[in-house]
Symmetry: C2
Subunit: 340 residues, 2 copies
Amino acid sequence: MTGRRITPTIKDVAERAGVSKSLVSLVMRQADNVSDERRRAVLEAARELGYRPNAMARSLVSQKSHVIGVTVSDLHNPFFTDVVDGIAAAAEEYGYRALLNSGDRIAMREERAVETFLQLRTDGVILLGTVIDDAAIDRIGRETPLVLASRASRSKLVDSVATDDHAGSAIAVEHLVELGHHRIAHITGGSGAGARSRTRGFLAAMKRRGLADRARVVEGDYTEAGGIEGVDRLLSEGPPPTAVFAANDQAAIGALRALSEAGLHVPGDVSVVGYDDTYLAAFEHINLTSVHQQRVSMGKAALQLLLERVDEGRTDPRHLTLQPALTVRGSTAPPRPETR
Amino acid sequence: MTGRRITPTIKDVAERAGVSKSLVSLVMRQADNVSDERRRAVLEAARELGYRPNAMARSLVSQKSHVIGVTVSDLHNPFFTDVVDGIAAAAEEYGYRALLNSGDRIAMREERAVETFLQLRTDGVILLGTVIDDAAIDRIGRETPLVLASRASRSKLVDSVATDDHAGSAIAVEHLVELGHHRIAHITGGSGAGARSRTRGFLAAMKRRGLADRARVVEGDYTEAGGIEGVDRLLSEGPPPTAVFAANDQAAIGALRALSEAGLHVPGDVSVVGYDDTYLAAFEHINLTSVHQQRVSMGKAALQLLLERVDEGRTDPRHLTLQPALTVRGSTAPPRPETR
DNA sequence: GGGAGTCATTGGAACGTTCCAACAACTGGG
DNA sequence: CCCAGTTGTTGGAACGTTCCAATGACTCCC
């Protein structure tokens, strides 16, 4: 006999405690009209047997899992893991458990990741920074309560929480202009999430300051390599900018590298601003001024929106916008007088 | 009527297709002795209704979830997320789905995270870098197939995969000694995972090279601040080392910063070696020589070990050790002749 | 032409819970 | 002293599947 251990069920506990399984169920759910005597007996029997409620059986009949699924676009992006912290903390607070998944920024994989949660019948789903297209999102929104985090939306079926990226770019431009910069370049995030708004916000802010003709935009892709390439292109064509605003921190770090290789000092010769204010920007060795997003709040808000649907049955869509701020560090300073 | 949508069940599909629910079940599980005619009818009915199998009901009766739970110590650590990639890729390959959890490096929370998986009756659990103590691990190992990743163990009940940290430190020391360094200092990882082995490995390697009396060790804690403080202490007491070996990349980055603040150039005046070879080390702006661990392989191996238990019923423990390697970048070079 | 064997299909039990209606044993008020 | 109400407890139906033994319809071979 290999001692094939079988996990005890509610029935085993009931037998050992000499009560019905219904009563065990009541005790496990902390019901209050149970006599102290029986409660003690049940709890002791459960402890002795090492009983652990079967969550599947539970939610199969109660039609409630107290689990919410979170599909994260990219677990390697420190921005997203901070949002996850907010989600997990809020979930804990409300008595839910968050389970994670990743789709590696590939729409098809992300959809399969979500499918896992749909089959598991989680109480709801949060999509964090995913690249799944709008049609698919509405399809999923019809099947389960759904919230989009770090992604703006106008869907009638789902909620969303995102940072006002247009405003974020404006803050960065204002900061640079106030330092005295005019020739400001922007390295975009390509087709990445929020990249379009960041670029539009940059152009609008420059225009508002009467600097539309000084603005330059080069394509990037939210990566270090994209930042390097962007700076190389900026330096090889026309007069060098006195400031570079990159669409995220990683691209900004690439820009730092390319500038230093070109013999330019930051912030002496060129100022650099990033976006996301990840812990990378905070490394003293990098020390990057960056547009800050309320990451943990974003996670909390996403979960709260979801629970409004799950617990209170709200069905009309809500779309939240969070305001960005600027974290000023050592990579920005007034331009040299002669280059202005 | 609010149109409270009810998710269709296998029974609804059966009715619409005009067959028994057993047959629908067979079709859904891709059984092969089903006539093409019925199969088509079932699939069409399922599609029309938007049927999606209920994973809970499924695994309740089949006693198999095809889901494995992964409790990650710290999602913000890029080392762990790479291991997760390996786990997820291997899971996909074998037809399993990996769900994640985090315990934020707090033993109690980590245990609760695992408890979630135990209640969900996942087919197995992987603990990635968790700080849960050995007694608790054995307790969990008695309840479910369990593998420890990025943590050595001698437990009789669970498997483990970890890098040979003793050897990793030796590689770093060998590299520095071959470059000509003698006064080599080590900044430890404090009470962090694997820190003890790394420090012991450093001391052993120095001794082997006859440099025991040149070795210096200062306490750190796997953080940037720890690295800064470590270097400050090294510089304020006795002759400065010509090389610093930090217990992880973040501490090494702190060391870089402190050295540059002290007016010392890397690698001209002092060489620096990190550990983990995370993408931080690869940033061209940082460009850190670092001890590389096989992260993705570690994840794959962890999942394979787990499935040997789940699918093949292995119960005797296996403990794997992966060999580290050195990724040489720009932070190491021969010492200046006069300082040797 | 009958028995053995294959093949496609089926109904009902089972999985481990919660839910609900029903019940027994009290308590208290008129 | 009876009836209504409360409190604690119970058995069985239900949740949505899989599993299994059983069934009927064929085919094949002697």
